[in-house]
Amino acid sequence: MTLAEALQLIISGIAVGMVYSLIALGFVVVWKSSGVANLALGQLVLVSSWFTYGVLVQAGLPLLVGFLLLLVFAPLLGWLIERIVLRPLIAQPILSLITVTLGIAYFLEGIVTCIWPQSLGALPRFFPTEPIHIGPAAISQEYLWICGISLLTFVVLTIFYRYHKMGIAMRATADDQLAVQACGVPVTRIFSSSWMFACIVAAIGGVLISSIGGITFGLVNTGLKSFSVVILGGLDSFVGAIVAGPIIGLAENLGGGFFTPLTWPGVKDIIPFIIIVIVVLVRPFGIFGEARIERI
């Protein structure tokens, strides 16, 4: 492998990893505040990508209007899911909470197939496509844009969580739900806003990744791969998700580059899942997660 190839793999790996981080953040937000393990991540990504396709390509709206509509649609979806499905299940065993998100996943997938039966959709190009030369490598600008937008989203989210009243309330809920309730914070509203956030970041991640790869059912797998980020970074850690994303992206791309000649083509797709198995076996609470798992 030449240096140029390696550099290309590294940059694209980091960019894709950033998107995984974004999607994983959506999981962490919900898990931290309400303890619901959302397995429908991939489907949320899928739905919001197809929605963007619908408003931008099928309805032909200008970019800005389309994105504004997406920013309305995604929180609405999150609110609906929380209000209709998860509110009645508060304080149910984790088994029900996991399986109900699987039900949501199935439902969303059905809706997507109903409305957009075609298997492939291409979003218009948002970013300039001419490559940038870094050393010997020519790197498509899109990847740098994706890194930039992801970083921006992280910064905004971090500031929100640190300083905004709602953000502080969300962190407090994650810490001690009873105490927060006693202080008069409406916990149910915290839950629904965490779902809204989850859907927004999933939507941003979805639009970013489908602007490169197109919209396919592969996005569901992207969502599943994000679980490796969640597991590696630690379930309840924002920093973990942000750091683990690029690690997974790099491992996927470089590992794919190195191992494909040794094994079968397509080894790239399976690396995140192998990482999941290894992490769960060796260090189940992840790099930054709290080691709060009950020892059995």
Binding site: L95, T99, L102, V277
Partner: protein, 351 residues
């Protein structure tokens, strides 16, 4: 179990009997006799094939019920373990040429061993972590099957010979009905008994509180792995039967969504009861048949519907049913049936 009024047990064998009263015996035997005579009066191969598929799925779901319903270890990779069984059986009978009964056992064992491997994390983690690691298992298994082309045929799949015991070849739908149903009845009987003996009680203890179970002297390591082994063993048997029933197998039959479907089946039927998966599977299969019959009709009645309506309707309704059951009937159809039975016995008194 609540018994009808006036039934008392005078010795231990009466007390522990599965079928307690004469009426129950008559009903059970009558049902089995009617059921096994089904191919004689049900001439439609379509319906027989649906019933066969129900039997196969029932075996897999019974395994999952032992693992998830009794032992509380969530597995979202059951279709993957089923695929291990199916491909083992296909390779052993098709490529190597072993007899079918041996291949059936071997496919159960291989699925069980692989399930046990992916069950190792359950010793340290539970809940969500376990769900994720079984999803990883599903993905890895399917990926290996897809890419190990010279053994499994990759995307093209494999063709499998019909099952045969001695000189008897199970070729027609009716003969396969007997093969599948006999194994299904055996599996249900085993599962029912396992739930009542030492192992089953240990599983339930682990599900309810694993720390307490350990304090009571239950070896968690051993029993959790055993649960994974048994659950995946049944999945492997189901996979093998599926391979010999469908005669050609492909990874398309063992997708992630199929795994979710199994979870949905046992949720709808009722976790932690032997009868639950039966209700769940019959419910889902009837739903499936209705949707496949209904959606083309709807499509032609309302041509303005989107063209993906026929394919999208089934997952949509299924997701909806799972959500509704979890919200309104979390203990499943089995519980509802129990309520109905006790209400019937007490009628006209409501207490």
């Amino acid at each position: 179990m609540t018994l009808p009024c006036g039934i008392r047990s005078y010795n231990y064998s009466q007390d522990t009997a599965i079928v307690r009263t004469k009426t129950q015996w008559v009903l059970l035997l009558g049902f089995l006799a009617l059921f096994f005579a089904l191919p004689f009066y049900l001439k439609s191969n379509y319906w027989l094939s649906i019933i066969n598929l129900i039997g196969i799925n029932l075996i897999a779901a019974t395994g999952l019920n032992i693992l998830t319903g009794y032992c509380g270890q969530l597995s979202i990779g059951h279709a993957g373990f089923m695929a291990v069984g199916a491909y083992t059986s296909a390779i052993l009978t098709g490529t190597i040429g072993l007899p079918f009964p041996l291949a059936l056992i071997c496919s159960g064992l291989s699925a069980g061993v692989i399930g046990m491997f992916f069950g190792i994390p359950s010793l340290r983690v539970k809940g969500f972590y376990l769900a994720i690691s079984t999803i990883a298992a599903q993905m890895i298994i399917i990926w290996v099957i897809e890419h190990w082309t010279n053994v499994t045929g990759g995307f093209n799949g494999m063709s499998v010979p019909y099952a045969s015991i001695g000189g008897l070849v199970f070729k027609s739908e009716a003969s396969q009905f007997y093969l599948i149903m006999v194994i299904t009845v055996i599996v249900i009987f085993l599962a029912k008994n396992m739930a009542r003996n030492k192992i089953g009680r240990a599983f339930v203890a682990i599900r309810d509180n694993d720390l307490a179970a350990q304090v009571m002297g239950i070896n968690l390591f051993q029993y959790k792995l055993l649960a994974f082994f048994i659950g995946c063993f049944f999945a492997g048997i189901a996979g093998s039967l599926y391979a010999h029933w469908a005669v050609s197998i492909n990874v398309e039959a063992f997708t992630f969504m199929k795994s979710v479907l199994f979870i949905g089946m046992i949720i709808i039927g009722g976790l932690g009861s032997t009868i639950g998966p039966i209700y769940g599977i019959i419910f889902i299969s009837i739903l499936d048949v209705v949707v496949t019959k209904l959606s083309p009709a709807l499509q032609s009645a309302f041509p303005q519907l989107a063209s993906g309506f026929t394919t999208g309707l089934a997952p949509m309704i299924f997701g909806l049913v799972v959500i509704l059951f979890l919200i309104f009937q979390p203990r499943g159809l089995a519980h509802r049936w129990q309520l109905f039975k006790s209400a019937y016995r007490l009628w006209p008194f409501s207490y």
